[in-house]
């Protein structure tokens, strides 16, 4: 059974990447899609919309329509307070998680059952 490692990794984080982008500024679909595709987080704009659907269903993202800079009316996506809280929770867990995984897969680390550090050590 071959597993696409990249896809498995992305599956877990892609929603939070969307939340992270929207935390900076509200964006419309194409804007988001361009950025995420460029970073190889999603394959196409088709991947994005089901994710946005789920985020809206969870109450983490909401939409509004307004005139964009280039003229036409566009549908923008933005974070809700719940979405902001969710993103913050992810941020707090992400760094320790990365360190833990790194420690577990590091070929040169001494094998030990003790994790390298506890939650709360990081900012």
């Amino acid at each position: 059974m071959t597993v696409d490692v990249g896809a498995q990794l992305r599956k877990g984080v892609v929603e939070f990447c969307v939340l992270g982008q929207l935390a900076r500024t509200p964006m419309y679909g194409w804007q988001l899609s361009e950025t995420l595709v460029a970073h190889n987080i999603i394959a196409s704009i088709g991947t994005l919309y089901p994710i946005l659907s789920r985020l809206r269903a969870s109450g983490w993202v909401s939409t509004f329509e307004t005139q964009s800079d280039s003229g036409p009316v566009r549908k923008y996506y933005r974070l809700t307070p719940a979405g902001t809280a969710q993103l913050e929770m992810f941020r707090q867990q992400w760094s320790p998680f990365v360190d833990t995984v790194q420690h577990l897969i590091d070929p040169h680390a001494p094998s030990t059952s003790k994790p390298p550090h506890q939650n709360g050590d990081h900012d």
Binding site: D4, A7, W30, A43, S44
Partner: protein, 237 residues
């Protein structure tokens, strides 16, 4: 009512996209087409071609959308069936609902009662629920309209039955004092309710038929329902 100023090339692309997205749930499909239309609006031919090149092949967009939806389903707390959550070709699935499915469902609701009373429209209603061409709201409207109207008529009948019996047939005319005619007026009310149950599926089925054909039209703007039916442009069969 179309405010879109997308070029013919853009319309062709959007039609192809809508067709490729047929297997995708209708809400997401409309979101994707509307989002892409937003992007292609007001561009000239050159810009449109550039943007379309960056968007990618409609089939690819559809494939990745389905992969994402499948991945979300298999991420629920049961072991994933396979590692097909990658952005490449998903596990083989039915090529999506045949175009005629929603049409047959609508027609059954509309005229099924004249072929097989009650059962005909009911079968049609079941097919409507199974169809991906209708949103949840549309399905509930189709289900509740005949039921709701019939319930209202039956309640009105019961209420008027209480009124006439309490006034003791003093509404004038010798006819009213006969027990048989009192029974008859009650029966007429129930008849009206039954007629409603038979008759309302006809306009409801017609409305479903119109919604089904609108979903297939590439002229879909947003997921908001619109008052006037749009003319169907590029209609790939």
């Amino acid at each position: 009512m179309t405010e879109s100023s997308a070029s013919p090339e853009a319309e062709r692309y959007l039609a192809a996209l809508n067709a490729a997205l047929a297997p995708v749930p209708v809400g997401t499909r409309r979101d994707i087409v509307a989002g892409v239309r937003e992007e292609l609006d007001g561009l000239d031919a050159q810009q449109t071609a550039e943007r379309i090149a960056r968007l990618g092949d409609p089939e690819f967009i559809a494939t990745t959308a389905l992969a994402e939806i499948d991945a979300a389903h298999s991420a629920e707390p049961s072991p994933p069936a396979s590692a097909s959550a990658s952005a490449s070709v998903p596990a083989p699935r039915t090529p999506g609902e045949a175009r005629w499915f929603a049409v047959i469902a609508s027609l059954l609701v509309m005229v099924g009662g004249f072929v097989i009373p009650v059962v005909g429209p009911l079968i049609g209603l079941v097919l409507v629920w199974l169809s991906r061409a209708f949103t949840r709201t549309e399905k509930w409207i189709a289900t509740l309209t005949p039921v709701g109207l019939a319930a209202i008529v039956m309640l009105a009948t019961i209420a008027s039955g209480w009124v006439t019996s309490s006034t003791g047939g003093s509404l004038g005319g010798s006819m009213n004092s006969s027990p048989m005619s009192e029974g008859m007026s009650g029966l007429t009310g129930w008849h009206a309710a039954i007629i409603i149950v038979f008759a309302t599926p006809v306009p409801v089925g017609g409305w479903l038929l119109w919604r089904a054909s609108r979903t297939r039209s590439a002229a879909d703007q947003t997921s908001a329902p619109e008052a006037a039916p749009e003319s169907e442009s590029a209609h790939t069969v």
